[in-house]
Subunit: 337 residues, 2 copies
């Protein structure tokens, strides 16, 4: 829920005058996304999303994100397409912030994931990976394995207040995960020297249900209408994107892992891009790493948000349960492969 | 910024199936309004706003609010029109909350008020008062003069932490305002026994800039496109609604009163409904009362919100400045009359 920056009427009008999208008809803040300020924008030219990039986004990385969305859309992926202004630039300034207008995507994100969502998700993820193959930009994964130890250190003083023994458990898990992590996945030096079988490329890296829109088809089945929020996208192991999705889509509210959902996701993905043997073997540790990544960012936010604050802090312990599940997982078959 | 209640896909689909508005195309939380959960809803039948009424709204009062909007819209006022379900009911339940779908209004609320906004505002306010004249419902003003002393009592312990001496200053102001308040304005016993000249009726009571939408006409002048958020509406002195608008629209960011804006508002209002002598004479005290009403609710929210909370608390002292201005105001002419 986020609108951090208000935009004056005059500034908005002057900004929109730079775009060939007609006259302003409506402009309302959107209560989704937590990093940036998002507005639903309606003009005589159509419907758009206006995003003002806030402090947590590095302006230097915006050309990568916008360029990637432009590239993926041009390859047929349903994702927001940056709208260039009359001067050809999609990235401009508004109210002292970097800002961009993107096309509006129809659809609704699934508040409750059903198995029927997971096959379209796997299919779209493979489509994303294929569409990104010839994109020239690169961005290291700032929240990849090299970032986890520093992040855990920043939670060291207060982590055990969330659950006694948590920091020691995470130290042990991190060491085990890093020891097993496919070497090519380290964020330095990409993409040279990648061993066969662990392909890297452009990944979304945050493909949670609220970033995936669906519409029902005539038979009442969910049809995927688009992927949004590419602001964690980076250049990393393609199979890590699958591991993020297994974490985000395949657990029930009672914390059990739904292997039917996982199988649907993986089978649809592999129909477009079969995983190599190395990727299949690495999937359990990639899943552990993805659990740890979301556990650590949530833990950091939890310990650095005032106790009385009325913002919703996401529970880090949800990901401790997922991490423990993946640590116990015997092999790829227990994950639906 | 508010979406307090999430709605599951199944619940949303079942809810929408009760309405003759077509198939779901988009559904996004809106970051405006602080009392309820609001969603932009797009279907093959058009665009709508879905509101889930949260704890601060008394469900027993919803028929008044929805009935009033329906009535005002039927009289030609541009305001959200409740959409009845197939059974004729506009007020239903969703996710355990009372819920209603209303029509979508185009337009943008003015982040910076210009004098050109104030004449259309005054005109629309008079139109609202005329359109409400034959509405049968009644609702006492819970935040009218009878509610101010109890509200001040709830801030008594902590009020002086906001500014030393504040509680004593507000005690004195409240006593002076109540002594002068037009007797007919008290919330009991309406509408019998109203003296001539102080007409009561249906008022909006919260017509701040973020509740008024504008679109530019072909000449670039703001044209009012609609009034929203009738959830403080009540049956009270019509002129009190003007006093709320003078507070909310006619002060500059340096706290000075812009009499040009006030005059534009009042002249446009009086072109539809000239004020009586009694109303003109009462306007200064009504303005003081309106200042005090917003000061007290903000002060209450301020003192009851945790210090570290990340929600935006509105500054109560902004309204102390306005109250002091109106206490000094010599007569109606200094307010633009």
């Amino acid at each position: 829920m986020a609108v951090y920056t208000e935009v004056s009427d005059e500034a908005l009008r002057a900004f929109l005058a730079e775009y060939p999208i007609g006259e302003l008809l409506a402009f309302r803040g959107i209560a989704e996304g937590v990093e940036n300020s998002n507005f639903a924008l309606k003009t005589t030219g159509g419907e758009f999303i206006l995003t003002l990039y806030e402090k947590r986004v590095d302006p230097g990385e915006l050309p990568y994100f916008l360029g990637l969305m432009q590239h993926l859309a041009s390859r047929g992926l349903d994702c927001p397409q940056p709208v260039p202004a009359r001067d050809g630039q999609a990235l401009r300034m508004l109210a002292g912030r970097p800002a961009a207008i993107c096309t509006f995507l129809p659809g609704v994100w699934p508040r409750r994931v059903r198995p029927q969502h997971c096959a379209p998700l796997g299919d779209a993820l493979a489509q994303l990976h294929a569409a990104g193959a010839d994109f020239a930009g690169q961005r290291p994964n700032a929240l990849g394995p090299a970032g986890w130890a520093p992040l855990l250190d920043r939670c060291r003083a207060e982590g055990d207040q969330v659950q006694p023994g948590l920091v020691a458990e995470l130290d042990a898990a991190l060491a085990a995960i890093l020891a097993e992590w496919p070497a090519a996945g380290m964020p330095q030096g990409m993409p040279q020297g990648m061993p066969q079988g662990m392909p890297i490329g452009q990944i979304h890296a945050d493909l949670f249900p609220d970033n995936v829109f669906f519409l029902d088809d005539a038979a009442g089945q969910p049809r995927l209408s688009g992927l949004i929020d590419f602001y964690f996208a980076c250049t990393d192991l393609l199979a890590y994107d699958i591991a993020v999705c297994l974490n985000a889509w395949c657990f029930e509210s009672d914390h059990s892992f739904n292997v039917t959902k996982a199988h649907a996701l993986l089978a649809a993905y592999q129909a477009r891009r079969p995983l190599s043997e190395a990727e299949r073997a690495a999937l359990p540790v990639l899943c552990r790493g993805a659990s740890l990544r979301f556990l650590l960012t949530r833990l950091y936010d939890w310990t650095s948000t005032p106790a009385g604050a009325l913002v919703t802090r996401k529970d880090p312990l949800e990901y401790l349960r997922k991490l423990r599940f993946f640590l116990r997982a015997e092999g790829p078959s227990s994950l639906g492969l």
